[in-house]
Amino acid sequence: MAVIDRHKADKAGDALFKGVSYFFALLVIVLMALIFVVLFKESLLSIKAFGFKFIYTSVWDPVAGEFGALPAIWGTVVSSIIAIVIAVPVSLGIAIFLTEMAPKGLKGPIGTAIELLASIPSIIYGMWGLFIFAPFLSEYVEPYMVEYLGFIPLFNGAPLGIGMLPAGFILAIMIIPFISSVSRDIFQMVPPILKESGYGVGATKWEVIRKVVLPYTRSGIIGAVILGLGRALGETMAVTFLIGNSHDISIALLDPATSISATLANEFTEAVEDLYLSSLVELGLILFVITFIVLALAKLLIGRFSYKGGNL
């Protein structure tokens, strides 16, 4: 009798434990759905008022109640592209260094140092950028950039040290650890025999990397880059400090601009009118949709690659 009771208790315990853990697993999916639903509901007012015009108009006038998201979307996309352009070659360089070149004793410390960059909070990057990096840029870098490269419209503008380019540069430093650590893991999955056959026919290290390692890992590396892009798109505090918060669209990258996240961080608590608040929430919704798509793509590319490796 006692045995049967215990058996029953065990069964009940099993069902309960499984049920509770199942509940929390499902909670994540519910949470994701809820974020979409709540953001959509809160932005209905603005969606009704502006429709698709919200996305392609560029007037942002809280006083007149006119809201167009184009400058913010433009800033988010352009600053992230700048970050990617700078971060990808550097990150791949770091990943190559760590997998193919670094002596055993250096691999650990240098890998850790790069990963520490990822653990520094975003607000520290922002503050350091504003107080140290921006004055440095405006004194030693940007005046020369305007003087010697100013004939290209992109490298023109006010050498203030804050603007689209400085924001993109800080973003690049922030996403380097993500791209390089994912690429390093992927590089390590190249079967040694492929590389050895390259060396066997007399290829140099660079030739093995370019003709064996990179082609073999292509989709995973693209995934890593897109993951970095996803990170850059949503980054808030560093961009808020450095981008300059101007709702004007300028082709000159040294000029101040704004981004979705910076607009939210600066204006959300000041928005008292319903339409203003609703427009800001819609900005958040747009950001969430963009990053969702980008991250899902990255996940698919990296995931497909790593299954080939096959182990846990």
């Binding site: 065990d10 069964k11 315990g13 099993d14 309960l16 499984k18 853990s21 199942y22 929390f24 697993a25 994540v28 999916i29 949470l31 994701m32 809820l34 974020i35 709540v38 953001l39 809160e42 550097v90 791949l92 360089g93 770091i94 260094f97 070149m101 670094a102 650990g108 140092a113 790069i114 990963e115 960059l117 653990s119 520094i120 909070p121 975003s122 607000i123 990057y125 922002g126 503050m127 350091w128 140290i132 380097i176 390089s180 660079w206 370019r210 949503g234 808030t236 505090m237 996240s261 939210l264 961080a265 959300f268 929430v281 958040g284 950001l287 969430f288 990053t291 991250l295 996940k299 846990l312």
Partner: protein, 283 residues
């Protein structure tokens, strides 16, 4: 012969060039790490004094005072976020590793958590604002804690799943064969085996959220005074750094550097410590 040796030289040259670029890249990353740390230390350390830890902020423009309430607020909100986020994350991770495994629902949960890990934290702030701040009439510490727990949740899920998966199936089978029910095997055998890894993962997640600013800007907001009421706005170190660094006073900037030093030192120590723990286990 000459053209061949030229060809060989060219290949050597490109090899050397590519390898130097990759060494320079590593140097680039490390250079910025040390540049940032150097400034955080050299500006932040002088701001550390008794008043910094013990006193309330001085009125705007006045010298002196400290960030005691913000330090307390960060600890309070992080602790509540941990209490909400860690158990639910570990349980969801348990589902993935012990029950769901290769099922479709488990892969959907993994997919969604991987996206949530990298989702913009400011959007989480907007979401919690719409969910908890607007309907309940004001900024509150609890809203900030919920926002941080949402950011923490996917991190805890993924690391606890990874750590639980490291426990070999043979261990589970041995315990099951003795007649122990599945849940007891999970709690007494699998958790015990993965304890160190999960603790490390949780520490990293806690460190990460304690440095978050964006999700707190419009949830816990700010406060110039002590606050022990969960339903009231509460100051945190990160939001205070943001406001002070953007503000006009030299004294504020100094306080902001002090806060930055405190947060950075804490996060870096936890990160390095967890690396050491992981490495010792691997050895």
């Amino acid at each position: 012969m000459d053209s061949q040796s030229f060809h060989y030289m060219r290949r050597k040259f490109y090899n050397l060039l590519a390898l130097s670029v990759s060494v320079l890249s590593a140097g680039f990353g490390i250079f910025f790490l040390f540049w940032i740390l150097k400034d955080v230390i050299s500006y932040g350390l002088p701001a550390m004094n008794g008043a910094f830890f013990a006193e309330l902020p001085a009125p705007p423009g006045a010298e002196g005072g400290g960030l005691a309430n913000a330090i307390f607020g960060t600890v309070l909100i992080t602790v509540i976020a941990t209490v909400i986020g860690v158990p639910s994350g570990i349980l969801a991770g348990t589902y993935l590793s012990e029950y769901g495994r290769k099922s479709r629902i488990a892969s959907v949960v993994r997919f969604v958590s991987d996206i949530l890990v990298s989702a913009p934290s400011i959007v989480v702030g907007v979401f919690v604002y719409a969910l908890l701040v607007k309907p309940f009439g004001g900024f509150s510490a609890i809203a900030g804690a919920v926002a941080l727990s949402i950011i923490m949740l996917p991190v805890v899920i993924r690391t606890s799943e990874e750590m639980l998966k490291l426990v070999p199936d043979a261990t589970r089978e041995a315990a099951l064969a003795l007649g122990a029910p599945h849940w007891k095997v999970t709690v007494h055998v699998v958790y015990r085996g993965a304890l160190r890894g999960i603790t490390t993962g949780v520490m990293l997640a806690v460190a990460r959220v304690s440095g978050e600013t964006a999700p707190l800007l419009f949830t816990s907001f700010n406060n110039s005074f002590w606050n022990f009421d969960m339903s009231e706005p509460t100051a945190t170190l990160t939001v205070t750094i943001f406001n002070y660094a953007m503000g006009p006073y030299e004294d504020w900037h100094q306080k902001a550097w002090g806060g930055a030093f405190l947060i950075t030192a804490m996060v870096l120590c936890v990160t390095l410590l967890s690396r050491l723990i992981v490495r010792r286990r691997a050895a």
